[in-house]
Symmetry: C2
Subunit: 356 residues, 2 copies
DNA sequence: GTGAAAGCGCTAACAT
DNA sequence: ATGTTAGCGCTTTCAC
């Protein structure tokens, strides 16, 4: 089914069909228009996006590069973004970078070769130099979950929740509950968002005149990303914090998957949140379902997805819209946080000194 | 950067570059080849997948249509499938059908227009007639999570776990623990996989000479898909089963999200799995992290993804490989199931008659 | 061993 | 109001 078939069936030239297809239908007889429309309907004709894209140079899809869409946070993001893109007639090419720079670069280049001119990149590192070549070619890059870094405002569009505020809110929530020894659990702090969340945590402590204690800040040091799952890291981090001679009574985790891992660790030693309070980040679909339901920092995902697609379309049309943007997070209080208890910590293994 | 630029830089014709690109490099001087390769490297040339696809008719991507990639099960599937596809040089176009027939059809047609000739369709309904037109055009359709239906063997490739066996395993696990009143919770049973799981449940009961009790089988009757999230339905289903004058001591749920919702319901009435045993299906990434960790039926996702891509590639090359396939599930025993307790059920609300 | 030519399906000047 | 033409970037006979 090509445009030629339609043209033949309607007794017009291909260009006339094309004209109709491209919004130039007013300047033709109502009768011809009807004939063409009928032919299209009868033949079930759909113009080839491939040919169209080749001819016009207009992209037919946007690229989406995320660490792993198996992670519920990125799954939600992919879902919302696809829905927004579709509303604008754009498809979504999905790529899982596994947080690997080389893959990220390779993916972006293949996307470019596929005619993609705009990609949404998830969880970005401070430097985007590995994508310089694509950027030079004219790729529009929207870095999601990444706040503006120095001079890159003009090269990249940054879209992020206010991670500093989020980290601060999480920590102040715990402080206001009465906690004073508050831990922080994160994987490698190579990403901008993680650093900001940690900074927010420190800022909240400072406000309460608490000095930051390195012991309480657990950072995965096994080198690089991707070797362990987020929940495993949260699990490991919590176990190690509990082993401190003076463990925290509450922890802020870098995201909900870490938080769930941390809660699991707690259970293994015979405790249970909020015996140690745990707060996550993201408010993934499972946060309210977990036991106990997770207190967390919610990102306005829907609004972010809408903004992302809007801004990309604007950039594509040369319109310089708002571009970079930081959105406000909100605290969602649930049962994984509570005032500190005076109950002593059980020593591991749990059965030797069970909680309560 | 087009093939022409490379040709010019290497002082050859475009066709010679093309020949090298397409594995016809042996029949040219080592010297020319070197010149071309150097030119390509220097210019950072990548052939346009769009132009190539238009010219050869070969697809550059496969389509993936799932109910919602925000669901962790489909997120995992998308992740694995993308990884497999990439190994074969194929990209993945992501579509969220929201379980809506019209969207499903529209998506598949847009995919076809994009040059896609193979799509993986998640969670299929018994009838695939809404896709007839695409099928007639020659689309290769792989229905995932759907076992062969009647005569469609020759139109569609079906790939699924053995849902009957899975439902049976889940139920027998509970039976062997001593449960005799076993509930079943599911959304609309319009999909093949759900019916099979339910049939497996009934088969296990029959083996123990237990007659199926309609009371114990909770099916969402709010009409159609998508109006409520899976976990909400699991939640609702569990609450209603608990309201029976003789509630079940264990339930099989249609998948892990339902199971997590069911566990939440249990907590709300002051119980906790395994006070009522709960078994899920899929073994999503959160199953081991939940509290209690969820007993569930695992699907061999990795193997299925590999098979899916392999079979699609074979079909594309005209090779008629194994095509439809059913894979074996495995039971993963965790703490959400246990022998029935003799403890009486609390009456709601929980505080009026707390558990224990 | 290398290149000229045609064409995939479509669009957009530019005729008529 | 409609059609002719050229060409997007690539591949593939078929000549030389």
């Amino acid at each position: 089914m090509t445009i030629k078939d339609v043209a033949r069936a309607a007794n017009v030239s291909p260009s006339t069909v094309s004209n109709l297809l491209n919004g130039r239908g007013e300047r033709m007889t109502a009768e011809t228009r009807a004939r063409i429309e009928q032919a299209m309907a009868e033949l079930g004709y759909r113009p080839s996006r491939v040919a169209r894209s080749l001819r016009t140079g207009q992209p037919t899809a946007i690229g989406l590069v995320v660490p792993s869409v198996a992670n519920p946070f990125w799954g939600s993001w992919a879902h919302l973004l696809e829905a927004e893109a579709m509303r604008h007639g754009q498809q979504v090419l999905l790529c899982n970078s596994e947080r690997d720079l080389d893959r990220e670069r390779a993916y972006v280049e293949e996307l470019w070769a596929s005619g993609v001119r705009a990609v949404v990149l998830g969880s970005s590192l401070p430097s985007l130099h590995h994508l310089d070549s694509a950027l030079r070619d004219g790729l529009t890059l929207l870095a999601f979950d990444r706040e503006v870094q120095g001079d890159d405002e003009d090269r990249v569009i940054n879209l992020s929740v206010d991670n500093f505020a989020g980290g601060r809110m999480a920590t102040k929530h715990l402080l206001s509950l009465g906690h004073r020894r508050i831990g922080f659990i994160t994987g490698a702090t190579a990403t901008v968002s993680r650093r900001r969340r940690l900074a927010g945590y420190e800022s909240a402590l400072a406000e309460y005149r608490l000095s930051r204690s390195d012991d309480l800040i657990w950072v995965d040091d096994t080198g690089g990303f991707g070797d362990a799952s987020p929940s495993e890291l949260g699990h490991r981090g919590m176990l190690e914090l509990l082993d401190l001679r003076d463990p925290p009574t509450a922890v802020v985790t870098i995201n909900d998957m870490y938080a769930l891992g941390a809660c699991l660790a707690l259970r293994e030693v015979g405790m249970d949140a909020p015996a140690v309070s745990v707060v996550g980040f993201d408010d993934i679909v499972l946060a309210p379902l977990s036991n106990p339901p997770l207190t967390t920092i919610r990102q306005p995902m829907q609004a972010m997805a809408a903004h992302a697609v809007q801004v990309l379309r604007d950039a594509e049309h040369g319109r310089v819209s708002s571009r970079s943007m930081v959105m406000a997070p909100t605290l969602v209080g649930r049962e994984s946080t509570a005032a500190p208890t005076s109950a002593p910590y059980p020593r591991r293994p749990a059965h030797e000194a069970p909680a309560h």
